[in-house]
Amino acid sequence: MTTKLFGEPVQRREDARLVTGQGHYLDDFGPGALAAAFVRSPHAHARITDIDVSAALDVEGLVAVYTWEDLPGALAEPLPLLIPHPALTHGRTAYPLARDIVRHVGEPVVMVVAEDRYLAEDACALIEVEYEFLKPVVGVEEAVQGAHLVHEDVPGNVGAHLVQEVPSREGRSAADAIDAAPHRLEFRLDIERSASMPLEGRGVYARWDAGDGSLRVYSSTQTSTSVRMAVAAKLGLPLPKVEVIAPDVGGGFGVKIVHPWPEEILVPWAARTLGREVKWTEDRREHFVSSAHERAQVQHVRVGFDDEGRVLGLDVTILHDHGAYTPYGIIVPIITSTQLLGPYKIGAYRVEFSSIYTNTVQVTPYRGAGRPQAVFCMERTLDRVAAYLGKDRTEVRAANFIGPDEFPYDQGLIFQDGRPLVYDSGNYPESLRMLKEMVGWDSFPEMKARAAAEGRRIGIGIGCYVEGTGVGPYEGGHVQVTSDGRVHVSTGLTSQGQGHETVFAQIAATELGVPIERVSVVTGDTRRFGYAVGTFASRAAVMSGNAIALACRKVREKALRIAADALEADPRDLEITDGIVHVAGTPSASIPLATVAVLSNPLRYAFDEEAKRATQFSGTSAMDRPPVDEGEEPGLEGRDYYSPIRSTFASGMHAAIVETDPETAEITILRYAVVHDCGKLINPMIVEGQIHGGVAQGVGGALYEKMVYDEHGQLLNASFMDFLMPYATEVPRIETAHLETPSPLNPLGIKGAGEAGVIPVSAVIASAIEDAEGIPIDRMPISPSDLYTLRLRLAG
């Protein structure tokens, strides 16, 4: 049995329960709980003039009906603005239940609690809300005209405005650099809305214990620690009386990092008020109209470049549609504007964004979080530069790459964590070389010609990105070895299917020298670990992985100290293999970790045979020292935190070959190749799975998914029937290769991998379609009918 597991494709320990139906997702809890349901606004913008609940009161099994007027104290205030920023001058958040005005279809107005969900929905259907219509503001360009306002006190519907400018090395501004450049281009790009759309929606289940005045909340969330603080604050409960647990979560992809959702504080409040268990499980339509979307941007680009295609100046103006509220601040447009530069060094850069209110569902991070838009912008730009100069697209990219010897590389911007955007490591030319070889880039023209001879249209596309991963502020890990030799690992951040139980166990087993079967991992349970930030920004492995490794190192050091005492050896001569501490080269001089755990905790009372060794008459403790020596603590356990100076920067490059049907404009992806660099791999099987899933979501975003709002602010495709997520038949086989450029910033040398797959896909597909068709592609997604129309327009 080997204990060196870091880097191995270890099979997932989550799977045994998940393939047998033994997982516990939110709605699997609380079989007898009361059910909550919500009356939601059917209008995008309206004033509530009356709420009549009387007809609902006769519904059998109805327990309670609440409107905003019923909410006490802090619960009646607007939800928190989670990430304030000086540029967010007009941040606005919703009330948990609408107060006077509704600002998007789906906003909760009335909460109903009944014996089961069917009855709760019966009651909802009988509640009459009267509205006076206000003019809905839909579409970011209409919104910015400011003719009608989403929030009366936000002029021009502008929530935030931010400019970042990095002059060239010679001190030239972007505008000057562009004007002075030998060549210039100017164009506009459009990016549609999409959404995380996990297969499991949101959900909350709360139990109030009147006996000890404590509250236990289960939520399908990406941050249980922060939900806990929000619930305690909103309900006026002491923090230690509230525990929040993220159970098995059926996917998140960003949407579940937003908190507290209205339901996340209303359900616990109702549970406490009613003294009963209450649960709310989101249905699919609710998820479409009342959670969060992402992506939508309009970008205006000006670029100046030289004969080699080197970008001398780049100026990007972004209109970002953030929907009706800004609980998550302006993180998405900040990421777009800072990650836009990718693996390139740009002469001078200026980026300006306005983040705009519309009467639509709020916009918060979805896997990629602003980067797909950024990469679409940069890569479309470089493709245009190449086309203008008649150069190979990869040559233009290579001409702009940051060299492998130029790290750390400072882009001169402030990143989403408020810290300088400094790349830690990478090897972009090598990635490009690997990708070109994998996809056969240099021989593609012949392939294209052969296809053309058969009357087929094919094209090849490329997209490169750099992703800031593992953002701070911190995560922690706790590791305890119990007297049965088992290792209990916990961390505060949550899991949504990334296999954390497996990779964290791999780290702990490797660090401690124990068989992985003896390691158990708990994530996202505030009863086990109270300090954490959450799972987002491809940060879990980097943050909690390193924190757990550091905690294990503390435990190991202590174990060796105690074992050295017991074995009368020098701790430096000791090793741990298969859970046994032994003198290197002398396996007989050994002591099991289990026994070390026993000895670490001096006892008065024996509870089993093993424990007798640590009791006061056992003769194991030295008489000249206190049983727990100065600076020591009882127990074989350790806790540590990892808080990096700044983010790690993973990178990658994708290429695709697509075929477009000359008649029907149908678009088929023939090949999809990925070169990915996330530093050292903990579990290559899991990293590959993350890439596959990301690329599939990227394909959805590039070809199929959009949120179709009409001029009244109605979401026309709020179902899986009409919002087209890819099935197996739409996702190409994905070929992957890994480059491992370790991060110098953390002990394990790792970078995050969760979001990477999705980031460049729209850019890659657009590039390939453009190559096949010979017409510029400037919006995503692009459907066959879009392409067909585009052909007609350009032909006419």
């Binding site: 099979q11 997932r12 989550e14 799977d15 045994a16 998940l18 393939v19 047998t20 139906g21 033994q22 997982g23 516990h24 997702y25 709605d27 699997d28 079989p31 059998e60 099994g61 089961d116 969900r117 069917y118 009855l119 019966d122 759309m197 996990p198 297969l199 499991e200 098995d248 979560v249 059926g250 996917g251 992809f253 249905d283 699919r284 949504q496 299917g497 990334q498 296999g499 099987m685 899991i686 590959e688 799975g689 890439i691 596959h692 899933g693 990301g694 690329v695 599939a696 979501q697 179902s719 899986f720 029937m721 997520m725 099935y727 197996a728 038949t729 996702v731 086989r733 994905i734 797959g757």
Partner: protein, 173 residues
Amino acid sequence: MSEETTRYLVTLVVNGVVREAAVPARRLLSDFLRHDLGLTGTHVGCEHGVCGACTVLLDGEPVRSCLTFAVTVDGHEVTTVEGLAGDNELSPVQRAFTECHGLQCGFCTPGFLCAVTAFLRDNPAPTEEEALEAVSGNLCRCTGYQNIIKAVHRAAEIQAETQGRPEDRGGRA
């Protein structure tokens, strides 16, 4: 008693065991399994028949339990994900999904497992095309499907290896 609350006794065989519960006519089979019988392994992703997460086997054939009223399956036989494994052993399909990393969050997985179990029973040696077809009625937001398709083939392999041990073939209660 209103139409909404009048209860009807539904008796059926679930995973080889006779179960019964009195439920209103409008109770969906998915809710019946999950909330009345406590078999929460069957998941609900859309409740409008598109995602396939709620797929169970009704008399051996895959159906969307969110589009089926519980009262209509009175007297029938249902297999859910909880009934796929043998006594102490995962079914070939369950094993294959694990080996091939065919699941991440696991929410869609019960639907895939049921659909693939029925598919391989009828078509034990599928071609690439047939395997793709077999899983193309179910949505997964995590895996990108590549490993799911791999798992279909791997399951066929395991099933072939364990032939002659019919009790290992799984799927039929």
